[in-house]
């Protein structure tokens, strides 16, 4: 009996949880449809008196948001692909091969996650400048192509893949890279999906680096456009929220796209011992 009610309880909690989790999002959407004065009215009014659909086109006209969205999408996709490739490559190398100083490499790679970007800002900018990566797409994409988090993620996941898979492929005469490409990658779909989603979102959301490295309006990304809408001490928050709502769509789309990777039950049967 406990089990039966347990299931119901779990479902109820889930729905309640969704409600709680989505409250800020609801506020965001409702604010995007209010007039400027209504946004910060207290007590909170969830449904605006009149739905201000005009906020959306108005907000878009405040800056070259078409360009900003495109740039963000382009950069985020490029970085996502790069991340997925390089991080899984490195993760595989760290997970399944025993070469000297392997652990040192791993720890060194992890250590790149331990310093906040702020302190590395000026030196990294100098490096980018030496390599001609300032104020162009290269500067927005290349420094982000490899992320230690992705390497860590892939390494942990690949560790759980059976060695016998790899050995069998080797015995069959497959090249090392071929093994990576044809055996490992297809078996990593959940982790690749997670990495793709998180990498896309992180890049889409990045503010500080694009802000420092790009000065041309034509290169600005979405978060820069969003931040620009704030004046010294005034801002059209209803329009900012409209832009923010639109900004969530790409990440949501990517998530839906990669959802399939999280579907349980990859079609492999258990190993006969």
């Amino acid at each position: 009996m406990l089990l039966r009610y347990g299931g119901l309880l779990v479902t109820l909690l889930t729905i309640l949880g969704i409600g709680v989790v989505l409250l800020p999002y609801f506020w965001m959407v409702s604010s995007s449809l209010k007039t400027g004065a209504e946004v910060f009215e207290l007590p909170i009014r969830w449904i605006p008196q009149v739905l201000q659909w005009a906020n959306y086109p108005n907000a878009l006209s405040r800056g070259s948001f078409g360009i900003y969205f495109f740039n963000s999408a382009f950069v985020a996709l490029a970085v996502m692909v790069g991340n997925v490739f390089f991080c899984s490559l490195a993760g595989y190398g760290l997970a399944k091969f025993r070469f000297p100083y392997r652990m040192l490499c791993f720890v060194l790679i992890l250590s790149t996650l331990m310093l906040p970007l702020e302190i590395m800002l000026v030196p990294t900018y100098l490096v980018a400048r030496e390599l001609g990566l300032v104020n162009n797409y290269g500067g927005l994409i290349i420094p982000l192509l490899v992320d230690a988090f992705g390497i860590f993620l892939m390494r942990q996941y690949i560790k759980s893949l059976p060695d016998s898979l790899i050995e069998a492929a080797r015995l069959d005469g497959c090249s090392e890279f071929g093994i990576f490409w044809r055996i490992i990658l297809p078996n990593c779909k959940p982790a690749l999906g997670a990495l793709a989603l998180l990498s896309f979102r992180d890049t889409w959301d990045q503010f500080l680096w694009p802000f420092i490295v790009a000065s041309d309006d034509a290169l600005k990304t979405f978060p820069l456009g969003l931040a620009q809408m704030e004046g010294i001490d005034s801002a059209a928050y209803h329009e900012i929220m409209a832009i923010a709502v639109m900004g969530m769509i790409p990440a949501a789309l990517i998530f839906l796209f990669f959802q399939r990777a999280f579907v349980r039950g990859i079609a492999l049967t258990g190993l006969k011992e």
């Binding site: 004065a37 910060f40 009215e41 405040r62 800002l121 000026v122 030196p123 900018y125 100098l126 490096v127 400048r129 030496e130 390599l131 001609g132 990566l133 300032v134 104020n135 162009n136 797409y137 290269g138 503010f207 500080l208 802000f211 420092i212 000065s215 041309d216 309006d217 820069l224 931040a227 620009q228 809408m229 704030e230 004046g231 010294i232 001490d233 005034s234 801002a235 059209a236 928050y237």
Partner: protein
């Protein structure tokens, strides 16, 4: 720059190339990648044009940026051989970007600075001195005469001018006429002139519901250490003191004047009980949002708020001069943004920048109309067409306050000083700590900041 830098990379690649004597095949292996890298770099760096445009950076402030863009278009049409390339950036991180760019010598030719940061930049030689002669004045004294008294002081360091302000902003007192009338007061006659007035009048305006304050009589904004300093520095001056001594090396914020200033700052919360401190600390998205929403009856904010609030809200508002301790010795806080110049420009480029500045600054009336900030010209009020503005937009009040105004204490460590005072204020207002003790702690922190390290 003194860094163990990365300049040798391209050289190293070339060296490996030359040393490799295994014959043409190996050479060619390196050649193609190098060519590709070079080509990509060239493409990525963008086309090098014959004449490089003049770059101008501004912080984001929507009405202001629109006008600037318009000016740039006009200029570019008239001067197609010396175009301006204009960019604006999100306000808060703007100075981080500017700092990073200045430190790597990649800043624009012309950029906005805020007056409080001027000493920080001039002591590090990252601003080029402005030459009044190139702006059409005889010399600096001549230029000062054309502006309101003291309006240029914030941008002068060691006798040289480092930035030219297109606007002057000042803090004044905004009161809600409707609330006054409801309480049986006449907003035109009974408005507060001193801080004590605010207290007594505020008591008639504050509204409580049980023990919840639903309408404050008066409040200070608490969201930014710079705003705190604008209030505090002015208060301490009204009491005859100053935050730092004349040498700028010792902290005098904990003097009697400072303690009195802090007491005034906190008295509306603790003594008069017309302020609810927690409503504004870090919780208000807009510093001056409570006033137009009727949640506070009197509020000190800057001149640009008139345009921000809009004519609807302003119908119920009245602007009066900044409150004083001693009406015979008035002081008010002024600040502003100004256009500064990159110091590493050729003489010719510098002249160009001055020409652009002259062009941008020439139309005071339009600046005011578009940005709603007063222009610091001496004869600003006498320009044709200003009468309307004087009547509805309280321009008289602003110009009056600007003329008694003083910029915040100049110091390269101003931000650390602001933060120390802000923390002291938080302790006094939120925790009711003794003002002298709080200021003593602030002075310890300030002395540490000022000490040579």
């Amino acid at each position: 720059m003194g860094f163990p830098g990365l300049p040798g990379i391209s050289m190293k690649l070339g060296a490996a190339d030359r040393q490799d004597v295994k014959g043409g095949r190996t050479m060619r292996r390196f050649l193609v990648p190098q060519l590709l890298v070079g080509l990509t770099a060239l493409l990525l760096c963008g086309s090098a044009s014959a004449q490089t445009p003049l770059t101008w950076w501004e912080h984001s402030n929507p009405p202001h940026n629109e006008y600037s863009k318009q000016l740039v278009e006009e200029w570019n049409k008239a001067h197609s051989n010396t175009p301006i390339h204009y960019e604006f950036f999100a306000m808060t991180p703007y100075f981080k970007k500017l700092t990073a760019a200045l430190s790597t010598r990649s800043a624009a030719d012309m950029f906005t600075v805020i007056d409080t940061l001027l000493p920080s930049f001039t002591t590090k030689n990252v601003l080029g001195p402005i030459r009044p002669e190139w702006l059409g004045y005889k010399d600096l004294e001549d230029m000062k005469k054309a502006y309101l008294p003291g309006a240029l002081d914030g941008y002068i360091d060691n006798g040289k001018l480092y930035a030219v302000p297109p606007i002057a902003s000042v803090f004044s007192l905004y009161i809600n006429k409707k609330h006054f009338q409801e309480a049986g007061l006449d907003p035109d006659k009974d408005y507060p002139r001193t801080w004590e007035d605010i207290g007594t009048i505020g008591k008639k305006l504050v509204k409580m519901e049980g023990n919840r304050m639903v309408r404050e009589g008066f409040d200070f904004a608490m969201h930014s250490s710079t705003w705190t300093m604008w209030y505090f520095n002015t208060l301490i001056r009204q009491f005859g003191g100053e935050v730092l001594d004349a040498s700028g090396q010792n902290c005098t914020a904990n003097s009697d004047a400072g303690v009195k200033a802090m007491k005034v700052r906190a008295m509306f919360v603790h003594d008069y009980k017309i302020s609810d401190p927690t409503v504004s600390v870090g919780t208000n998205a807009l510093p001056a949002d409570d006033l137009p929403k009727g949640r506070v009856s009197m509020f000190i904010t800057h001149a640009g708020s008139v345009a921000q609030f809009g004519p609807e809200v302003m119908k119920d508002m009245k602007v009066v001069p900044f409150p004083q301790v001693n009406p015979d010795k008035p002081v008010s806080p002024i600040y502003g943004f100004a256009i500064a110049m990159n110091p590493h420009l050729s003489e010719e480029k510098q002249k160009q920048v001055h020409e652009v500045m002259k062009f941008v600054l020439k139309d005071a009336k339009t600046w005011y109309e578009r940005t709603a900030y007063p222009y610091p010209y001496k004869n600003f009020l006498d320009l044709p067409g200003m009468d309307e503005a004087r009547r509805t937009n309280y321009l008289d009040v602003f110009i009056h306050d600007i003329s008694i105004g003083r910029f915040i204490q100049r110091s390269p460590q101003i931000i650390e000083i602001n933060e120390a005072i802000h923390r002291a204020m938080e302790r006094v207002v939120l925790r009711n700590e003794d003002p002298k003790r709080s200021l003593d702690q602030a002075c310890t922190e300030i002395s540490r900041a000022l000490a040579e390290r």
